[in-house]
């Protein structure tokens, strides 16, 4: 009996709390991608100081979930690490706008005795991940790394096992640089890997790479920086070897062909300084907002994020949008109807 009373009391209290919360703030709900979660939560946190009347609630349930939720209109905005397919867009009850926010790079990390610096190109990476290049001293790898002696060791290929935007960017790149990869494997958040072992999440892949001599794996740039993992310089479309940095990612974004709906792929971008394996992440909002008051707040936030927020991105190792693209996106945000 006492427990019952206690429970009822608690329920009553929490109901009161909820009611108070609802009356004080407007809550804008969003869900989706996990990759930009740290920067988004930073933005929402900072924005609460700019406009205390609105609260953002973001659930990082994955890009697939983000797309589903915005299609079902259970959230006010969605988020995705890959642009939505035409097929999925056609299911939307209204016109959906893609708003690129930040970009990240995928780096090729490895574990070799002494961890020498390493240079790779797309064809070689595809060869390794297809299982055609099996040894570290394969002619294709040594040709790119004259001066470095590579061991006669089996390459242990590691990939992500969970569906992820990281895998999407990586396989998208391989599909662009290798016809063989495109026809045999293709690009997606998960693919049927021809070889290698799967690690769950960045930590699964990096754990495997760090522990296994001769291993190669791909992880997000942020993760590699924070965990001090070695990563390779890659040959870009212009033939230069480029280290992955925030600058070389932003450079890639400024040369990438970006259509007006902002559904673009920036892998294998041209330009002398462009890092080839990089991708943007998007917010998904309806062009015609259902709730005018919420829509107004959402537009205000987007403008703030694209201008003030971009500076915070760098601190968290996300690459901000190049100025020209940012202006285009801001113009599109202005066209959101309330």
């Amino acid at each position: 009996m006492r427990i019952g009373t206690l429970l009822i009391g608690l329920l009553g209290l929490s109901a009161l709390g909820l009611a108070a919360d609802a009356s004080a703030h407007m809550t804008i709900n969003g869900a989706g991608a996990t990759f930009p979660y740290p920067i988004y939560s930073k933005w929402f946190d900072e924005y609460a100081k700019v406009d205390p009347s609105v609260r953002f609630n973001y659930q990082s349930i994955g890009s697939g979930g983000g797309q589903k939720q915005i299609l079902a209109q259970t959230v006010d905005f969605g988020a995705s690490d890959g642009p939505m397919s035409d097929d999925n867009l056609s299911k939307a009850p209204g016109k959906l706008i893609h708003i690129p926010t930040v970009a990240g790079a995928v780096v090729i990390s490895y574990n070799l005795p002494g961890n020498p610096s390493l240079k790779l190109d797309g064809e070689t990476i595809a060869g390794i991940y297809l299982g055609n290049i099996k040894k570290w001293n394969d002619a294709k790898i040594t040709a790119l790394n004259s001066g470095t002696t590579l061991p006669d060791q089996d390459i242990v290929v590691v990939h992500r096992s969970d569906g992820s935007g990281t895998s999407f960017i990586f396989t998208d790149y391989l599909s662009k640089v290798s016809a063989d990869w495109k026809s045999k494997v293709g690009s997606n958040t998960s693919v049927s890997w021809p070889t290698g072992i799967g690690g769950k999440g960045n930590e699964g892949v990096s754990g495997q790479v760090k522990q296994t001599e001769g291993a190669i794996g791909y992880v997000e740039l942020i993760y590699a920086i924070q965990n001090k993992m070695p990563y390779a310089e890659l040959k870009n479309a212009d033939g230069n070897f480029v280290k992955p940095t925030l600058e070389s990612v932003t450079a890639a974004m400024s040369t990438a062909q970006i259509p007006d709906d902002f559904r673009f792929s920036m892998t294998n971008a041209t330009g002398a300084q462009s890092y080839p394996i990089a991708g943007a992440t998007w917010l998904l909002v309806y062009e015609q907002q259902k709730d005018a008051a919420k829509g107004k707040k959402l537009v205000e936030f987007l403008k703030w994020a694209l201008s003030k927020g971009e500076d915070m991105a760098k601190q968290l190792d996300y690459a901000p949008l190049p100025d020209e693209l940012r202006d285009r996106v801001l113009k599109r945000v202005d066209e959101i109807k309330l």
Binding site: S63, M84, S161
Partner: protein
């Protein structure tokens, strides 16, 4: 008519003390009965609902792939070809490994705790084992990646390979992450549940059994074997089945150490994949309908396997009981 006395009046006419002896409150009894019945039915309803949801969620995939889904080894989200065989195999093999490791360990522990251990050590040991059950799956997984896997790769696996490398099961390259590592981590996870259920079962063996055996001059081992274990056989079997149920569905820790490669290899050093793992890995980022439906069907298959395993266990238990009664009659 006027002579007839209503029951209430009759009560009133009795001695004052009787007034406090109210008739039993039938409605409370009845309500209790209905309430418990409703609870029991709710559990059954929940199972049916889960099965139904899974079936609805996967009907497109079921009709598109048909029986091929269970026999095909291709899992390709790009070309949208889906087959569950490597996952079914992985779930079965990893659970089997887990049972092979965990059952002798946990039953021996339970015997020690109920029959042999000095009293002062029992409670601390029991608490420790129960604490093992409280470790979150993902923590065990991280421990698996950073502690268990390196140790297995450096010490246990090379030793196994040199001793048993002539069999197909301990052959081939050693990566660390493997079917065997997955089985071992599941074993760690199901150990506490089998141990604590087995301990309860052994404790419920009447002391008369033991005393009778001692009286016949049996040694401690004989008492345990004849009077306790054979008496508790059915219950222990039930404990193992409970463990199997958990083993089939274990997800996060297994995903982190099994290597997540959908393939069927005899070698236990090769990476594998389980039904639960593929759902956990791919569900959040699956965007196309048929892909999601295929993942739902994986769930349906897992659900079916769990129910099947339980049914087979029930059947085995029944035949075991029958065999025992016939023996008793003879």
């Amino acid at each position: 008519m006027a002579i007839a006395i209503s029951p209430r009046a009759a009560v009133a006419e009795r001695a004052p003390a009787a007034r406090y002896m109210k008739p039993p409150r039938r409605w409370a009894d009845r309500a209790f009965r209905w309430l418990t019945l409703a609870m029991a039915l709710a559990v059954i309803g929940l199972i049916i609902l889960v099965g139904w949801q899974l079936a609805v969620g996967s009907h497109l995939a079921v009709s598109r792939f048909g029986f091929r889904f269970l026999t095909s080894s291709t899992w390709d989200p790009v070309s949208e070809q889906f087959g569950a065989l490597p996952f079914i195999y992985g779930t079965a093999v990893s659970s089997l490994i887990a049972l092979i490791i965990a059952v002798p360990l946990s039953i021996a522990t339970a015997i020690y705790l109920t029959e042999l251990a000095p009293l002062w050590i029992r409670q601390p040991l029991v608490s420790l084992i129960e604490m093992l059950a409280a470790i979150p799956s993902v923590i065990l997984g991280l421990w698996g990646i950073f502690v268990m896997i390196p140790w297995l790769r450096a010490h246990a696996f090379p030793w196994l390979k040199s001793a048993l490398g002539w069999t197909p099961f301990f052959n081939g390259p050693i990566y660390g992450v493997s079917m065997l590592a997955g089985g071992i981590i599941i074993a760690v996870m199901i150990l506490p549940i089998i141990t604590s259920v087995a301990r309860e079962i052994l404790r419920s063996v009447p002391n008369l059994q033991r005393e009778a055996a001692y009286a016949l001059g049996a040694t401690r081992w004989e008492v345990t074997r004849i009077a306790v274990l054979s008496y508790a056989k059915n219950g222990l079997f039930g404990a193992v089945i409970l463990g199997l149920g958990r083993a089939l569905g274990e997800t996060m820790a297994v995903t982190m150490v099994i290597g997540n490669t959908p393939q069927i290899k005899a070698s236990l050093f090769a990476p594998g994949y389980t039904l639960a793992s593929v759902i956990a890995n791919e569900f959040t980022e699956a965007t196309t309908d048929i892909y999601l439906q295929a993942l739902f069907e994986i769930g349906l298959v897992l659900f079916g396997i769990t129910i099947l395993a339980n049914l087979i266990a029930q059947l085995l238990l029944k035949t075991m009981k029958n065999a025992m009664t016939t023996r008793a009659v003879q």
